[in-house]
């Protein structure tokens, strides 16, 4: 099923919670350097799929392959090192820390995060920290927040917190970003700014998988849409192909 330019393949993934079957042999592939949207009604299995791909949940059966390699059973932190990072629907930042320190946490090469290096190799730690600060500031510049690098995150507005989270994900240098409802909680102006940044990600060699309920966001962003229903991919295609199918509208909204 996987094609040459597929970066991620989900193959017959099944997941139950207690007696409830949430994912039923879910199968799809994501093309590299594209934005794919995962849509579906509440309970369709979108977040569970996200959690399985990013290691926060383990599939009961099936395979998930990233660049052809099986990533089932890997921990979330391991998967970030392999190149897959995610955001959460409710933005999760370290509120007591500054914007810059939050983004620095996204940097992967941090010898100073080990006790022995921090105590015994101060020069190595300092050198890498300087490089990481430079990279973190570049990430903040990409989202337009370099001016507020020293502000405490919990004092920022929600749209700015979302941007900090995006900067964190950029700082990880991961090739694939999974964004869980990136537009939720944002006003129209903030959505427009955020979408502009996300749309530019494929040009930076990033692949994006988005869960979203806001159809105008999906229309704006997605190169490809996957419609989930009852734990499986019910339909796939371009945005217009999906929204023009009346049956899907009924499944999604429960109305004509």
């Amino acid at each position: 099923m996987a094609k040459e330019n597929d970066i991620l393949e989900v193959f017959k993934v099944t997941k139950s919670f207690g007696g409830l079957l949430v994912l039923k042999e879910l199968s799809f592939a994501i093309k590299e350097c594209e934005i794919t949207a995962l849509i579906g009604a509440n309970g369709a299995g979108k977040t569970t799929a996200f959690n399985i791909i990013t290691g926060f949940c383990q599939a009961d059966s099936g395979k998930v392959r990233f660049r052809g390699k099986d990533i089932c059973g890997r921990t979330p932190h391991d998967l970030v090192r392999k190149g897959i990072a995610r955001s959460f629907q409710q933005v999760r930042l370290l509120g007591e820390l500054t914007v810059l320190k939050n983004v620095l946490l996204g940097c992967q090469d941090q010898p100073g995060e080990g006790f022995s290096n921090s105590l015994l190799r101060p020069k190595k730690v300092r050198r890498q920290e300087d490089k990481n600060v430079e990279w973190a500031i570049q990430c903040l510049e990409k989202v337009g927040l370099e001016e507020i690098a020293d502000e405490i995150v919990e004092e920022l507005s929600y749209p700015d917190q979302k941007l900090v989270n995006l900067a964190q994900l950029l700082a990880t240098r991961c090739e694939m970003l999974l964004l869980d409802e990136p537009a939720s909680g944002l006003d129209a102006a903030s959505i427009k700014k955020f979408l502009g940044l996300v749309k530019a990600l494929p040009d930076r060699d990033k692949t994006v998988l988005v869960v979203e309920h806001n159809m105008s966001v999906v229309e704006e962003l997605a190169d490809h849409v996957l419609f989930l229903h009852n734990g499986e991919v019910y339909a796939r295609g371009l945005y217009n192909e999906i929204v023009n199918q009346r049956e899907l509208g009924e499944l999604y909204f429960g109305t004509d």
Binding site: P76, A85, L94, L97, Q110, S118
Partner: protein, 287 residues
């Protein structure tokens, strides 16, 4: 004067203990009620190595650090795999089991009778047998532990620990091995407590299990709650205040039968009051 010097030595030793626990509680947010037992492992290891193998003090102290660090790892590896507050339950278990071992492994620890005639510390022939000289030795180690703690605070590892305390799921999602960080912090905390244990044993020249009980673990926890979680100054002031309080009460001529339990009650009330009304302690940040 000797009384004040003696108080200062003990304040220094308990400051090291408070600092060691604050790395765990104040920085990464893992509550432990086993620091009394860990303190004891350091003390017994150092004392036994000097008495039986005639190791020099510094080598015995280093061995105490290694043994206590390894022990902390053995406890942390399984108990930190579970989510939630189960580590506290494990810590209770460790505290009681270790205390029981101190009491019952009579052939090694001499049980309730304790180990006597522990030599005073000496370094390269220089014997620290006066209160003043021992205070100098203790202050050296207090400064050493402060610099270790400060270094942790200002480097990326401190940032990581505080982030884990704040939201470990978010930190995992950024590619950090939270479990490994928790285990290593527990090892660091235990290793530093061993320094206090060794200093204690070689100062008093006598140790017995009654100093390494759950009450002592709670006493050390109270020091950082009162002084301030995540605060170097708070750790030291908490130790000074809580050690100083009973000394002040001595001057009020309260009978021993009341003073002992009364002290426990006061510590308990202090803990509750600070957790309720001043979670940051006197010098710390909010927990």
């Amino acid at each position: 004067m000797e009384y004040l010097l003696s108080f200062a030595v003990l304040a220094g030793i308990y400051s090291i203990l408070a600092l060691s626990l604050n790395i765990l509680v104040g920085e990464i947010g893992i509550i432990s009620v086993a620091q009394g037992a860990i303190f004891g492992i350091g003390a017994y290891t150092s004392a036994l190595l000097v008495l039986h193998l005639h190791l020099p003090f510094l080598l015995a102290l280093a061995a105490g650090i290694v043994v206590t660090g390894l022990f902390s790892a053995v406890v942390a590896i399984p108990s930190l795999r579970v989510k939630g507050d189960y580590f506290i339950v494990a810590a209770f278990g460790v505290q009681f089991v270790i205390h029981d071992i101190f009491l019952n492994l009579v052939d090694v620890t001499r049980g309730a009778g304790g180990i006597r005639h522990i030599p005073r510390a000496s370094v390269f022939g220089l014997k620290f047998d006066s209160n003043f000289s021992y205070l100098c030795l203790t202050l050296f180690f207090v400064l050493l532990v402060i610099s270790v703690y400060w270094r942790i605070k200002v480097t990326p590892v401190g940032r990581l620990l505080r982030a884990i305390r704040s939201d470990e799921v978010a930190v995992q999602a950024l590619g950090k091995n939270v479990y490994k960080s928790k285990v290593m912090t527990t090892v660091a905390s235990g290793s530093l407590a061993a320094i206090a244990g060794s200093l204690y044993a070689h100062y008093l020249t006598y140790i017995d299990p009654s100093v390494f009980t759950i009450h002592d673990s709670i006493f050390i926890l109270a020091m950082i709650i009162v002084g301030g979680m995540g605060s170097i100054t708070g750790s030291i002031m908490g130790a000074v205040i809580l050690l100083g309080l009973p000394e002040i009460l001595r001057f009020l001529a309260i009978p021993d039968a009341i003073a002992g339990p009364g002290r426990q009650i006061v510590y308990g009330i202090l803990l509750i009051l600070f957790m309720r009304f001043r979670t940051k302690g006197l010098f710390g940040k909010s927990f």
